[in-house]
Symmetry: C2
Subunit: 335 residues, 2 copies
């Protein structure tokens, strides 16, 4: 691939429109050279997508480019960081112009929205795989962490949950022309990093994480890091209208999926965060103008995560549903 | 791989001894959180190694771990940066404890020598592939670039050239017990990033690059970036004693390799740099205590790269040798 590497870089990756003033040197030297504004801390996140593991062969390259960028920006969002730069390692069996055109377009379309400049990386020959590292900046001391939750905090999530998991489960069975199906496909293929939400939450939330592995798994990370427990109100976990419509249509005989998918399926890339009582009104008001947010439970002092029905009885996701979607997710996991 | 991911991280990658005070959060949150000292600029470099492309199946995992770190630190060296942090994306078909033990040991042994902390990354299932990003720091405005060479500068290289290329060519034919063979194998498998040299050169050299693609190819990058040309004295390009000994033994009938390999074979990870006349004595004296350095030519105003014999006649690497080693290198290229 070497002899064409420079041509590929020039044609597909150096044509991006973004030139940030804090990039002293981007692509084209031994490394990129970057200015960090005074009073800022650097946040970095790296994720890899492998063909046949995280996406099927034949997936629209535009969606792969979008997702490679989105999953990393989502990690920055969960820290309250403002995105700045990305590095990309792209491994391909051969340089396919059609694929590169779609991939780079998907990647840069999202990057431009968040003023992210591609500053370097590597191109190698091998099985198709994409590793992207996103770099963001946050005012010193202001970042959101997993470890700040305290007993009495309210647990919130942005947007709706279970959509991407349903989309992954139904790949091939969705009807492209139907509106709810198109919504669900979009949720799976083009997750939206909650950057604006993360920035707002810096001063209002005590802990945050992005939901890539499923609500229960990711909330567990907050609980473990913070040394606390939680009671989750299963009936309050927000679902999209499209999610309910498609479940009614495709799985009328599996009502348990309605409760379980939003708890255990990953890939929605919404934020889960905890808020002290006095900040609830501000959070709901400010996030209401963006993706919205929904209170789904409380942080408690005693470790452990308990799911409850609205009548107060304990609830456990069906083992079948849980195992099923954990297995799916293992295929589609990117840490 | 998901369910064992956390265990793997804990066992092999979180046991490292390095904890830098500028790492506010390393492995274990959505992203790593880093302090950049006032007056510093950030340098980043990302390289990928793919099994079957950059290393053969069965290569000692300790050497792969070393090399993944070394090739990135070499890029930082060429910018004059001091290494600080690394992120690692490791894609493996399965979690093999023996492989992980060797790989992480090779990686951390080199990382510790340069005070580099692993701050995050990703573990995924798939064909064996390693992407590492190194992060370094350099005083604002002091970095070495490819673009600073001027007519009249002397061209230097550190160490000796052609060793790794010879090692790659002779894989399987080297005699482990012989000293020159062991030296050549070490040059291929465990390249030494010239960090101390890069730091010294910040104030003495005008342009620098690390030699990963071969002297001619990499010097061309300096010439293109700087808008200048060069005359290279082929007979002055430094070779190791082991290189000459093995060539005499294995290829007595191919004398052209002695001249051509050091010019076109990559992977030595030495530095090539240009020095104004008034700094030559200081460079030779200060680098003499480290890897050594050798003047091999001059920067000239007119674009183009001309190789000369000591009697002043033009020299071109034999087409055969050039094509042969370019083909080899294409297999082993990592940008």
């Amino acid at each position: 691939m070497k002899d064409s590497e420079f041509d590929i870089i020039t044609h597909y990756f150096a044509r991006q429109a973004i030139h940030r003033p804090d990039v002293i040197a981007g692509i084209g030297d031994d490394g990129a050279l970057l200015k960090i504004a005074a009073g800022k801390e650097l946040v970095v996140s790296m994720d890899t997508l492998v063909e046949g593991v995280h996406f099927l062969s034949g997936t629209d390259p535009h969606a792969i480019g979008h997702k490679a960028m989105a999953v990393n920006l989502s990690d920055l969002a969960a820290m309250g960081a403002v995105p700045a730069w990305a590095t990309l390692s792209l491994t391909m069996p051969e340089a396919d112009p059609h694929w590169l055109e779609g991939f780079s377009d998907g990647l840069f379309t999202l990057a431009r929205r968040f003023d992210v400049q591609l500053i370097g990386g590597d191109l190698t020959q091998g099985p198709l795989s994409i590793t992207l590292q996103a770099h963001g900046l946050v005012p010193a001391g202001a970042s959101l962490r997993r470890s700040g939750a305290r007993a009495g905090d309210y647990i919130y999530v942005t947007g709706t949950l279970g959509d991407a998991g349903l989309g992954l489960h139904l790949t091939g069975a969705l009807r492209v022309e139907d509106e709810p199906d198109a919504f669900i496909t979009g949720r799976l293929l083009r997750p939206e990093p909650r950057i604006a939400e993360g920035i707002i939450l810096r001063s209002l939330a005590r802990a945050a994480i992005d939901i890539s592995d499923g609500l229960l798994a990711d909330l567990h990370h907050i609980l473990d890091s913070s040394g606390v427990g939680a009671v989750l109100q299963v009936d309050r976990v927000p679902r999209s209208r499209a999610f309910d419509q498609i479940l009614d249509r495709v799985f009328p005989d599996k009502p348990e999926l309605r409760d379980d998918l939003p708890l255990v399926a990953g890939d929605d890339y919404e934020l889960c965060f905890t808020v002290p009582s006095e900040n609830r009104a501000a959070v709901e008001q400010q996030l209401g103008r963006l993706s919205g947010c929904t209170p789904i439970g409380m942080i408690v002092a005693e470790p452990g995560l308990h799911c409850q029905r609205k009548e107060g009885v304990d609830y456990q996701p069906s083992r079948e549903g849980y195992e099923h979607f954990r297995a799916m997710q293992r295929r589609d996991d990117h840490g």
